[in-house]
Symmetry: C5
């Protein structure tokens, strides 16, 4: 579906909002104009139509249709092809979902093909239209606002995961008995998915930030450097979180095992308390003819006292050793 | 065995399907024609025959006969020598099997030597013959369809392994008691075999994709870039799966140990329940002359009550502590 | 807040101490003079005012306002933009806190924007004003004293953490029973925060130390090499501490588990001591008509002796095996 | 000891087999001739004699005498100095032994100094003498056959270690109780020794394979590329085996711990079976005046039945829970 | 303290042994002469005196006074500044101690500043004075003998640590019960200290070995290559030892846990042996009126036999299962 198609001239939008006929727009594009055509989950025919209008390379179009690429920046003739993965966090499942934006950047046009629910570009477009000085950088400006929008989402996903890791941490080191292994595993999985979106993007952004990508003016480099820095920060977050989770997992395993051993020790020590009184009862249950205590008036009381005393003694001993 | 040998001219096959006499074909090859000779598990004499016809370097021929190489791309004079490992998944044993395809690429010919059951090339050939525009790239086109075919199999093997890892994961984190160590180990082994096929291939493909391999026109570069991207994706899959398996193994070990400790605690706590009643029985089994309870009318019932009560009290205590 | 603004001429300060009007200072700056304007936690308008006076790039100003950057060195036209993270150690919480200093370095001025409580720059300024020979290096001198001040704090934080790790180590390998997992985890977290401040700074400092940053004279290179060496030392400290903590954690886990197993063994062995006497008591509690010992004059004593003897025998056996 | 010294001319040996006087040979060497002098564990005077004859650099000669070098390729004036580590497998001890071959390669001579029992070079020499076409590459040919011989031994050692790892693996995952920790450790040690022989050799071989070593003709490059590929394969084997052993060790530790816990559980559950019958016996051993069962005709049988029944009930319960 | 100061001319020492006045020596130095001034733990004024005599850079002098640097090679104008860490092994504490040697190398002088007890340089000096051919390389020769001396100590420290690791290994895999965790930890700490001395030295030595350090003639390169090779060997030793220790630690932890579990199993199995006889005693202690065995003539013997038999049976069962 073509979501929006606009022509920008001298820092201003010169076409009405909303979808428009692409070929028509293309024909009326003058010198110095910039066209931005935005598609969302297009079907094959829509994409083919746009590809024809802008003369896009079939291999890149196939990739854009397929939407199962790594982040990358490639040149097909005069057209740049940039793949970005979008990420968003689904609160209900603590899960990170992945989408894709494929960008074709020519001398005077940008075609954005968005797949999945992540990173809607309408606010990117309005922020672009509000910044006249940025718009003068032409296609680079469009490229920049889209990258910026995507990386902004990375940051918010990273923030969500950081909260999750903080929760896991609190749970692991709390005094309660918790089961954190599965959650740690799931978080590691999400981080690994995030890493696959973020890490390969660093190199294309560095290239844009150093201004050595033909078609992207050196004047726009600082803008991309800014985005590249944000991606580096996110990448560092991901690495840090992953390491913290590994340590937390080990701490969790150790803790669980310690708690279980504590339980066993308490049960065993408790049972051991009863063992000596039982022996005493056994002794006075023996059938010897000559057992003076048996005939004592307070023999029974004496035996009970002995039992209670020995148990109390053991209890004190165990307490002192920290076994109870 | 020579499986098929064909001459392509101006985008079309000009020789009949099926095996043919190689030397004869070679002699009749005109300017701009491309020969593709396909061998499958050839014996030494067959290979020697073809090597003579195309003047292949003896060291490369030895490698191709031997079929125990790492993926690599080498130049022997004007001929390129490319080694690809083929992979396929044998469902019955959850195992990844490895074969090899050795390619000799000259100015106007490609000799493919396939070992093992993986990646039959007949569908590669038919897809090539169906794409006239691709065939115009000459030997690069043949090279491309073969690489594409092999990498396609990598992807399907990776998908199978991903399913296996998902199963292991489900098993590890299920509530049942499972034995996953051996399976995780086997999967790690398969992944390590896969890694050895995939990783060394990245560099040759990158070289083909940047168009700096003599004899492979720059026009074919985008096609190889496409294949290289797929290999990168597979390589990422392999790394991700390997890390997930490591984490899953740790989680499994922790879980097993926890379950076993749980069992022990329950058994011990259960035995401890009986210890106090036994003591009580021992007490009333003592032979003191003066034990008032013994003469009580309901002494026996009193003793049983005491036993039952103490056991019930302990049971409640243990339940509260989560020990039973 | 503008903390101090000064003009240096031929190695001496020529303006009064304390805040001054920036634009006024700027206007009166002569050839060869160096201005240093220091801000601390400025609000947006203060920063905008200074940015206007020195014509700073809006993207860099935004970064400096935001104060959430990685350490980096960037060029915006003729102005260098350097981001440093400040670190300080809060004893009360054993925590490492992070701040930021953003520096704008032009041909004849340095603007320093400090965020957070770390690394107050007044002593950097006085040490600068006391070293005439250093001041002759112009803006590079100012840059140097600030970097030096920040890295000095890194060193003191590293020293504090080293003390903490030593304490943890002593605790882990002491004969007492200690709970070090949570503290090790917290220290690892602090180290990871420190790493994020220190590691990315190495590359900018190396660039300054090799003298290939335009605007920073090669004569100042040895000064920056000195700072770069200190940062390398700190970076090594961080790596070493992190590895030691990992090993200490493993040792701790092993030790805890060993101690718990020891306890269990002692309890079990203790209980086992009582088992044989109990059996003996049971034997002499049997009701057989013909049991010669029962009628012995010293039968009771004999039984007690038997019990004591067997327990002592077991005790000796267990001692010998190291079980008690 | 000088093992053999020969002069090769136009692809043929022109001197008799066996040791010969080196200086004499040297004097009679014509243009285009190649001398190969082979020493085995030479004493200092023998080596000094040869060094004088070929004017070898004292530092290299010292290294060759010492035989405690890393694999390396160095130039001393016009002479190349190549160090190879030899490896061989001693079946009796499952151990990998290490020797060394030091090679001096001049314009028209090769001096090989072999230390230890590994890689005898006589078959390398005969294979060289049998291949006239190879011999025409001069000193490069001699260098090649020696490298080839050494790397062949690496491959056979790697194969032996692979068998060992397979055995360990089978043992670890067998149903029997095995003690594999020490063996895994020893294997890891052997692999680390092997790694130190193989890894540093890759770089010198790559240099020889790319033909940029002065004195080694580019025509010989494919031969060295062949050897370099074999070394890469061995290096990959070593890495793979090391990783497999690490995983196997973890699996072994987990397995042992599981088996021990199983034993404990069975013993505890078995003991718990007897606890309830003991209580019942205790109950009927009480001395209450009014205990109706005691007077029953089949009271004793009833008690035994109760004991048997409770034990059987527990047994069924434990079986169902998988505790016995 | 100035330990020795000498002037070398044409391969011979031309000044008397022992300390001398530095400025005086400096004044009398002719063309082609080389001065070596050796200081040991100098105080600030001594060092300042020498610095003035040789016009050393204040930053380097500060570093040399401070003696808390990483190994590095730097240029200050025409003077090289090389920092070496010295290592020595203190047997009494199994500890590795660290010192430092700072070298200033000018066109015709070397100033060595040694801190700590490691690597006394008098034997380096005598070996230098004994080798006329080496002395002709001028300052490079002095630099070489010092590096050589320091690296020799690395080797002997590495050998000591290797012995320690061998001991730990033997202890870990012995049949005795050992406590190796703390020792392994200490060894890892020593290795990490050693790594910090050795690793950063590789790069400066490589630079000296390739002859691209101004002021060090290419003719001296082979000598530094020799030292660089030794450092590489030591670095490999350190890495290998560290990995072995990690594996040994894991093996130790596993072993300890196994031994403890073995103990527990034996104690539990032993206690279980007594449980059945106790039950039998309990049975014949019951007070039923009708219990035929009680009246048997050999009833008591029968009961004892039953007890002995059941215990023996269990003992046989447990032995067969490997539980005792």
């Amino acid at each position: 579906m073509i979501v929006d198609a606009a022509c920008y001239r001298e820092g201003h939008r010169v076409s009405p909002a909303g979808p428009a006929d692409v070929e028509d727009l293309r024909r009326r594009t003058g010198d110095g104009d910039v066209l931005w055509v935005g598609l969302h989950d297009p079907d094959a025919s829509e994409l083919a139509h746009v590809a024809r209008a802008f003369d896009l390379h079939p291999l890149a179009v196939e990739d854009a249709q397929d939407a199962h690429q790594r982040p990358k920046l490639e040149r097909y003739g005069d057209t740049l092809f940039l793949v970005l993965k979008t990420l968003w966090y689904v609160d209900a499942e603590d899960a990170v979902e992945t989408g894709e934006i494929d960008l074709f950047v020519g001398a005077d046009f940008v075609v954005s093909v968005r797949h999945g629910a992540g990173a809607p570009l309408d606010d990117a477009r309005s922020s672009l239209e509000a910044r006249e000085e940025l718009l003068r950088h032409g296609t680079a400006a469009v490229l920049h606002v889209i990258c910026d929008r995507v990386v902004e989402e990375y940051q918010s996903v990273a923030a969500e995961l950081m909260t999750d890791v903080d929760e896991v941490e609190a749970s692991v080191f709390s005094d309660e008995r918790t089961q954190d292994a599965a959650r740690i595993y799931v978080l590691k999985r999400e981080l690994s998915e995030m890493r696959r979106a973020v890490m390969p993007l660093r190199e294309p952004l560095r290239r844009l930030a150093t201004g050595d990508v033909p078609g992207i003016g050196a004047g726009a480099a600082p803008y991309f450097r800014d985005v590249a820095d944000q991606v580096d920060l996110v990448a560092e977050d991901v690495e840090t979180l992953d390491e913290l989770l590994s340590t937390a997992f080990d701490a969790h395993a150790t803790r669980i095992s310690m708690q279980q051993n504590d339980d066993m020790r308490k049960i065993s020590a408790g049972a051991a308390l009863v063992v000596v009184p039982t022996l005493i009862a056994g002794v006075y249950g023996m059938n010897f003819t000559h057992m003076p205590e048996l005939a004592w008036r307070f023999g029974y009381a004496w035996a009970l006292l002995l039992m209670g005393g020995s148990a109390a003694g053991l209890w004190w001993l165990f307490k002192r050793s920290g076994w109870l």
